[in-house]
Amino acid sequence: MASKVLAGKTVEVNEEGFLVNPADWTKEIAAELAKEEGIAELTEAHWKVIDFSRQSAGTTGAAPTLRGITSGSGVSTKELFSLFPKGPAKKVAKIAGLGKPEGCV
């Protein structure tokens, strides 16, 4: 467990850089985490996915799976993979300040 300064706030992150406490998350932190993941700017479409994931995790207690995101938010598989290229499963969860998705599909 390590602490890290993100958007001017000291937060705890795990060895893969995921926030340990989802309550530490802010939109500014999301933007910084996105940059770490190679996404220069979070657009409205990105936020649709992030907001959905935060809401879903608020209800279920775990980050949604990719299938959960596409069937719940209305964002298509193609769009999801182009918004978060090279591995949306971890990227979405990390940027949204959640743990890794639990579930296979």
Binding site: K78, F81, G87, A89, K90, C104, V105
Partner: protein
Amino acid sequence: MEEKQRKMAFICSKGTLDMAYPALIMGWAALGNGIDVTLFFTFWGMDLINKHRVDKLELAPVANTSMKMSMMGVKTGNLGIPNIMGVLPGMTAFASKLMRDKIADLDVPPVGEFMQMLVDAGAHMYGCKMSVDMMGLTKDDFIPGVEDIVTAAEFIDMTEDTQIIFI
């Protein structure tokens, strides 16, 4: 230093409902983790890319020692489905429906829809030349997303530095 791109290839050689899913689920997980994914369909696995067959895959209870009566919700422990029952007309359709419902309960899509998800997520799909010839298929029989028909040697060439999983 630029990290080396991890690549995985799945050889799908089975056309039963239960054996269709492992490659789909692992392939999807790999794509979600940013891994390059190739699927090569051969022999009975051709059913997964055959648009006339993909949504009609079945599971036969005959000689399936893992399929127990308890799957039907009857608390019978290790009691299997007797093979003699499995040969009755309609038993294969019944077992297949049971499995499809169980899969759908987990919000896992049917095979046809799952194949489209993989294509949309960037998976590369190829049909086996020998199987195509043997079964008298053409590209018109395939679902969208199958990029080409390739020989075994071509597949071997294109999967250098790739982790290969045979199913």
